[in-house]
């Protein structure tokens, strides 16, 4: 009677697995028809092994500088970060020049006479947007607040749409593959998701229709479009287009949210190697110790 148990268990697990997979396949097939702006993209920094692509981060910074920085700050990133390993790794000299030439000055300090001053940023200073505070930003932006972008990728995600009977399966797949790029997928979806409002959509004053944005009404006008995108230098590694711009800015903002990703994954594999080897050694030791005891 006890003999039959393992076989029963394996059969049950297999059955649940097969039913779930069949369900998942059916749902995938159903989904294929609709237009989804927010789909998972492939990223160089994806999964358990991915690392940032320097050239892409540099192109992404170009988009930020030329387009986003007109309204959005990047206050958790300091100019020096742009030259540090694991980031865009611009040369020190050009980052210094960039800081000195940055249009948004550092305020809140006083001179020797006690008068408030504005000074030119240095390498240790944050990359600020054009507005001194949220009130000023809202006043200039028709009541809307352009958020700081330093953490935007970590603060956004794609919701899982899997039904309950496959939810656990896709969850395990994501864990096994190390999927953490929902925020970058979202930013890409937002950049490429601007459309004309569908017939019958009630749009607010000064609002733009976006497939990805929750509720579809976004106060931000399309920063990039099919005809209006940033062209790159010939040696930048890619040609400018809406799609390429959207990927590059999403990748750059992924770095600003998670500047230690490269080191984190590198160290992660070293730690895993150590843990797996130690576990195997400990297991061998345990077998040896228990070899004279039936248990």
């Amino acid at each position: 009677m006890m003999r039959a148990e393992p076989a029963c268990r394996i059969a049950a697990v297999l059955l649940i697995g097969l039913v779930s997979l069949a369900g998942a396949a059916a749902v995938r097939a159903e989904d294929a028809g609709e237009e989804h702006a927010t789909a998972r993209q492939s990223w160089p920094f994806a999964g358990v092994r991915g690392q940032y692509d320097r050239a892409q981060l540099q192109r992404g910074f170009q988009i930020y500088q030329n387009v986003c920085s007109a309204c959005h700050g990047l206050k958790r990133i300091r100019f020096r970060n742009l030259a540090e390993p694991g980031g865009p790794e611009f040369p020190d000299a050009s980052v210094k020049a960039l800081a000195i030439g940055w249009p948004n000055k550092i305020s809140g300090e006083i001179d020797d006479q006690g008068n408030p001053i504005e000074r030119v940023p240095g390498l240790a200073d944050p990359i600020l947007g054009p507005y001194k505070n949220d009130k000023q930003a809202r006043a200039a932006q028709n009541g809307a607040l352009p958020p700081d972008l330093s953490l935007i990728v970590k603060a956004r995600s794609l919701e899982s749409t899997a039904p309950w009977y496959t939810h656990w399966f896709w969850m395990l797949v994501d864990i096994a593959r190390g999927y953490q790029e929902g925020g970058a997928d979202y930013v890409y979806g937002l950049m490429t998701g601007f459309r004309d409002p569908p017939a019958g959509a009630q749009m607010g004053d000064g609002m733009y229709y976006n497939l990805t944005f929750p509720g579809h009404q976004l106060a931000m006008p399309p920063p990039l479009s099919k005809d209006n995108f940033v062209e790159y230098q010939p040696d930048a590694g890619a040609k400018g287009s809406l799609d390429q711009n959207a990927r590059d800015i999403a990748a750059f903002l992924a770095w600003t949210s998670d500047p230690n990703l490269d080191a984190r994954k590198r160290i992660g594999w070293q730690v895993l190697f150590y843990l797996v080897v130690t576990t195997l050694i400990l297991y061998a030791a345990k077998r040896l110790i228990w070899s004279n005891v039936k248990h």
């Binding site: 999964g47 358990v48 958790r76 970060n81 330093s150 953490l151 970590k154 603060a155 956004r156 995600s157 309950w164 939810h167 656990w168 994501d174 864990i175 190390g178 999927y179 953490q180 929902g182 925020g183 929750p214 949210s257 500047p259 230690n260 984190r264 994954k265 160290i267 992660g268 594999w269 730690v271 895993l272 843990l275 797996v276 130690t278 576990t279 400990l282 297991y283 030791a285 345990k286 110790i289 228990w290 004279n292 005891v293 039936k294 248990h295």
Partner: protein, 430 residues
Amino acid sequence: MALHASTYEPKTRFGKWMDERLPIGRLMHTQFVDFPTPRNLNYWWTFGGILTFFLVAQIVTGVVLAMHYQPSAAEAFDSVEAIRRDVNYGWLMRNLHAVGASMFFLAAYIHIFRGLYYGSYKSPREVLWIIGVLIFLTMMATAFMGYSLPWGQMSFWAVTVITNLFSSLDSIYKGLGTAIVEWLWGGYAVSGVTLNRFYSLHYLLPFVIAGLVGLHLWALHLVGQNSPTGLDIKTPADAVPMHPYATSKDAVGMFAFLILFAWFVFFLPDYLGHPDNYTPANPMVTPPHIVPEWYFLPYYAILRAIPSKLFGVIAMFSSIAVLFFVPWLDTSRVRSTKYRPIYRWFFWLFVFTCLALGYLGSKPPEETYVFWARIFTAYYFAHFLIVLPIVGLLEKPRPLPGSITEAVLGKGAAAPPAPARATAAAKVKV
């Protein structure tokens, strides 16, 4: 414990001197080297050691984080970001602590389900079990307050929702709930004052847990460990000394579990969290969908399954409180579910119920989800209040082996001498 005479012999002069004044070496040797453990323990028994490791790890990483963290409403969020970005290996400390909390709960849940499956709460281990439930409650309070500290949107709103639960007491006695809530908040709303006191308690409670763990171990070592057969150690042949037998097995279990831990720390540090917590707390903006951390989801589902706020809160607290009574609700004559042909089905139904409630707790309170949350909430309580007492009375357990040794070696096998250390040491003594 007649089986368990101390074989401790201090070897150095200092050791002998100390042994006559504070025999702490003798205590450690008796309790963690010679201590008899059942020879048939499986890997589910390694989670006690894993949990001890995580308690220590959380305290160590927490102490380091506290050196850099600023517990004020204005600075908390920025200081966590500074830890991630500017402190050397701060990202690692922060990930270890945040993911460590999740792994602590995962290990605790496995430990609790193991106790439920093998009947580890049954006489004479009732007090051991009750202390365990107290540890679990303290862990929940610690984790809840810890989650408030990054002061992101989800931190702030989780604190708001959970503390507000006490306001339901207003329907029992007017003003009582409001008074309690204001006392918890230290004001008329969740604010930096609330954050401050949560930080203070978050630093205090782990040491309370450590104290309770001491009592848990004391109670365990007094009565000895349960085993997969549900039988106690009866003869020396049933047991092996804790070291090196149980310790070598514990080490394998722990390192295997650390692989999972490292996977999340290095590859999925935010997978178990919520993206909204990377937006600074804003009392003026409510997130569209407030959810607690994954380990609280089943209780959240129970809370929302009950239409009345007061009874929802009562049900949620009862879902933990009922655990205190499990030793007396279970009427079965045998401990281990292995020998309970009917109850084992209910056990796995209960595991499924907890997972289902977890899933439903993560979903918005829409009609279908609430409907199923009610069904599973009903079973959650029925399992303890109806199934445990009634199945134990009706069920005819499978025949138990005569002893742990018989379960391992089969009936009629000559009991071999107790292995290694104990006998060897006994000879030396003679």
